[in-house]
């Protein structure tokens, strides 16, 4: 109950939780497209590439207002994506190399700028550090307000360009043949992604921002094959992780917000990978087990049928011990016989002997026909 009263009365916590929720929703929704387009790591590059923008914005304005720094961050993040596109489109360099190169060079240049600024008499760059590692606690009501407005604009753009973004994610070439300006649509989507990432810098920081893009989408992907559901679910996961992460880090001392949010969303991913219906590893494992059992039972049934053919009466009983030697996985024969007996395809004939029933004979013949057809 404590957490509930906290969120009602603790002003700072409310701001931080709200900010994290907005961030989670936006990065979750936009991350879905990045993950589907196999560009998961572009978020990592954009967030690192924001650093020189922050430094340059501060250098020219001498102003440490969040808005101005974030505008700088957005501009250089955007420039970085242009570079990436330019490298991948014009040369044989692959996306991963382009991402790594732009990421490290932009970040390195950002470092140069930061250390350059430090020498100025009026500078103390303490406020800039928070963008590197994120300090959710420094979020102000005004920051959250700005986040809300920008997120609203981004969501609106997402809804207006929904069809185009869908086309881009699933069949870019088809879109181009239909006369859509795919390059421009790509740039629009990337711009929205830049906005989402830049908004997250203050909360989770440069390094962990990439997880906010990839993780909610990767989790949502497991639950659905439909884009709209995936985007929505991804946003919901993002919100859940943002809120629970900020609450946890406020309750437990020495638990930084950004990493806690990342661990929360990663837990959701792990959970989804295991138990999501149809795709989840758990169901896959159960399905595989069921298939294996069925195959074994069929093999035992066919073995019985083969032996029965040597007798005038197809219901002639045979020893389970013989079946053991016929079967590759001898231990499973007992289980298979029990299963077949349950389906009334075989019946025990006493003293470790088993015989086919009429239904079992029919089933075995049907299986044989099926295997012959497959050959």
């Amino acid at each position: 109950m404590n957490i509930l009263t906290d969120i009602n009365f603790d002003y700072t916590l409310r701001i931080v939780a709200l900010g994290s929720a907005i961030l989670g929703a936006l990065s979750g929704a936009l991350g879905a497209f990045a993950v589907l387009r196999k560009q998961s790591l572009i978020g990592d590059t954009i967030s690192h590439a924001a650093l020189p923008g922050i430094a340059v914005a501060f250098f020219f304005t001498g102003n440490k207002t969040t808005t101005i720094l974030l505008i700088g961050a957005a501009l250089s993040g955007w420039l970085a994506t242009l570079f990436i596109l330019g490298i991948v489109k014009a040369t044989r360099i692959k996306l991963d190399s382009a991402l790594g190169l732009v990421l490290s060079v932009f970040f390195g240049f950002g470092l140069v700028m930061l250390t350059f600024i430090q020498k100025r008499p009026d500078a103390n760059q303490a406020g800039l550090e928070k963008f590197l590692f994120g300090q959710a606690a420094t979020l102000l009501a005004a920051d959250v307000q700005m986040m809300a407005i920008l997120a609203g604009v981004a969501v609106l753009a997402l809804m207006l360009l929904w069809k185009e973004f869908k086309l881009l994610s699933f069949d870019e070439d088809f879109g181009a043949t239909q006369g859509f300006a795919m390059n421009r649509i790509n740039l629009m989507l990337t711009t929205l992604l830049v906005v989402a990432i830049v908004l997250g810098l203050q909360t989770v920081g440069v390094v962990l921002m990439s997880a906010m893009i990839v993780a909610p989408a990767a989790a949502a992907r497991q639950w659905t094959d439909k884009l709209s559901t995936m985007v929505l679910l991804s946003a919901v996961f993002g919100v859940a992780a943002g809120v629970s992460g900020s609450l946890l880090s406020s309750r437990i001392p020495k638990l930084p917000t950004g990493p806690t949010i990342v661990l929360c969303i990663s837990t959701v991913v792990l959970f989804s990978i295991f138990v999501a219906p149809a795709r989840g590893l758990l169901w896959r494992w159960l399905r595989r087990r069921r298939n294996r059992r069925q195959f074994r039972a069929e093999a035992v049934l066919l073995d019985l049928m083969d032996m029965a053919r040597h007798h005038p009466n197809l219901e002639h009983p045979h020893a389970a011990a013989v079946l053991h030697t016929l079967n590759l996985d001898g231990r499973a024969v007992r289980n298979s016989l029990a299963e077949l007996a349950e389906r009334e395809l075989v019946r025990p004939a006493g003293a470790g002997l088993w015989s086919l029933t009429q239904a079992g004979i029919a089933e075995a013949q049907q299986l044989e026909r099926r295997f012959q057809a497959e050959d």
Partner: protein
């Protein structure tokens, strides 16, 4: 040696040591693995630090390198479920390890000198102060010895397994068909990358590790098609950016690692623009040439079709030809001018006639 020289030497050695395994990362499309490993290492360093409680222990390096391999196997495991793509798997794994590392630092190691800044950013300027002593003899900076050893190891491994690495990088299917284990080569390379990253991060920070591993090989990739040359060009670009980056930092009094990364970016940008065959300028020139060449071929084919025919005077008149080819008049004029210049056609009383090489051009275009 003066500290200045020592710093440059360390930077150059780190640059070459990183560039060599980096070549294979770039070729195998796993460049971002270097980013993942260099971030995830934080987790290994913190855990190893909490166990041995000293920053100088070789156990620390070992623990951190192990984390690199752990990262790789976690990415592989996640990818093998087929539930996420490889890029997403990388993006999922390293933030988790990094987060745990950050939380461990803030909970248990808060008052020790082990801050995230140092891991991420590095400070090459301090590297000469940490010296290797033996019997009170000063053997030089420790970083130089560590990275020198790693460089030597990298060279030996690449020379020994050159054939295997080459085969596995360019044709993984053939490599496994011939009996080389792709998994073994993959993990071997990744261990090499982890060890190099751990050794280098201490001196230059994890971001420069990424820059040095990816930047020079990517630049070299635009300059050559030979693996051996790509290795040596990468190493050379690494050394050039290390030394020039140092001086840039020296003049402007800024972070050395950052300015080396900036130089890598600058060198890449120049090569990106001006590489002889694969640069943007060469690409544009080639496209331009192809456009005109195609137009001239079309003109030649048109002229050949009507050569010696009664309608030739009409079809091949210099002021009429654009109508029959369905071209804009200006465009046709420019094509005719180029074709005259290149000697494909000559004028016979305003009638365009093919020369011998013009006929050859038309013939080639028709056959193709």
């Amino acid at each position: 040696m003066q500290p200045q020289v020592e710093i440059q030497l360390i930077a150059a050695v780190v640059a070459v040591a990183c560039a060599l395994p980096g070549v294979f990362l770039v070729l195998r499309r796993m460049a971002m693995m270097s980013d993942a490993i260099s971030h995830a290492i934080l987790f290994g360093i913190v855990v190893a630090f909490l166990v041995v409680e000293s920053l100088g222990s070789p156990f620390l390096v070992f623990g951190a390198a192990l984390t690199g391999v752990l990262t790789v196997s976690m990415v592989e495991g996640l990818f093998k479920t087929r539930l996420v793509k490889e890029d997403a798997a990388i993006g999922l794994v390293f933030p988790v390890l990094f987060s745990i590392g950050v939380i461990l630092i803030s909970r248990f190691a808060g008052n020790v000198h082990l801050d995230i800044d140092a891991v991420l950013l590095g400070e090459l300027a301090f590297a000469p102060f940490d010296r290797l002593m033996f019997n009170n003899h000063d053997l030089g900076p420790k970083a130089l010895w560590v990275m020198g050893g790693i460089l030597l190891l990298n060279i030996i491994l690449i020379v020994l397994f050159f054939k295997e690495l080459k085969l596995a990088s360019f044709d993984e299917g053939l490599a496994s068909a011939l009996g080389f284990s792709p998994a073994l080569i993959h993990y071997g390379l990744m261990s090499q990358v982890s060890l190099t990253a751990v050794g280098a991060f201490d001196a230059v920070g994890s971001i420069l590790v990424v820059a040095l591993m990816i930047g020079p090989p990517t630049s070299a990739y635009l300059l050559t098609d030979r693996l051996s040359r790509m290795l040596s060009i990468s190493a050379a670009i690494g050394v050039i950016s290390a030394v020039s980056g140092y001086w840039l930092a020296h003049w402007w009094d800024v972070n050395i690692a950052g300015s080396i990364a900036t130089m890598i970016g600058l060198i890449f940008f120049l090569i990106y623009l001006f590489a002889p065959r694969r640069g943007v300028v060469a690409l544009l020139r080639r496209r331009n040439y192809q456009r005109w060449h195609f137009a001239e071929s079309m003109l030649a084919v048109h002229l050949l079709t009507h050569l010696g025919q009664p309608e030739e005077a009409r079809e091949c008149h210099r002021d009429e030809v654009h109508k029959h080819l369905n071209w804009q008049e200006n465009h046709a004029k420019r094509v005719v001018r180029r074709a005259l210049q290149d000697g494909y056609v000559h004028l016979d009383k305003d009638i365009l006639r093919l020369t011998a090489i013009g006929k050859k051009l038309a013939g080639k275009a028709v056959v193709e």
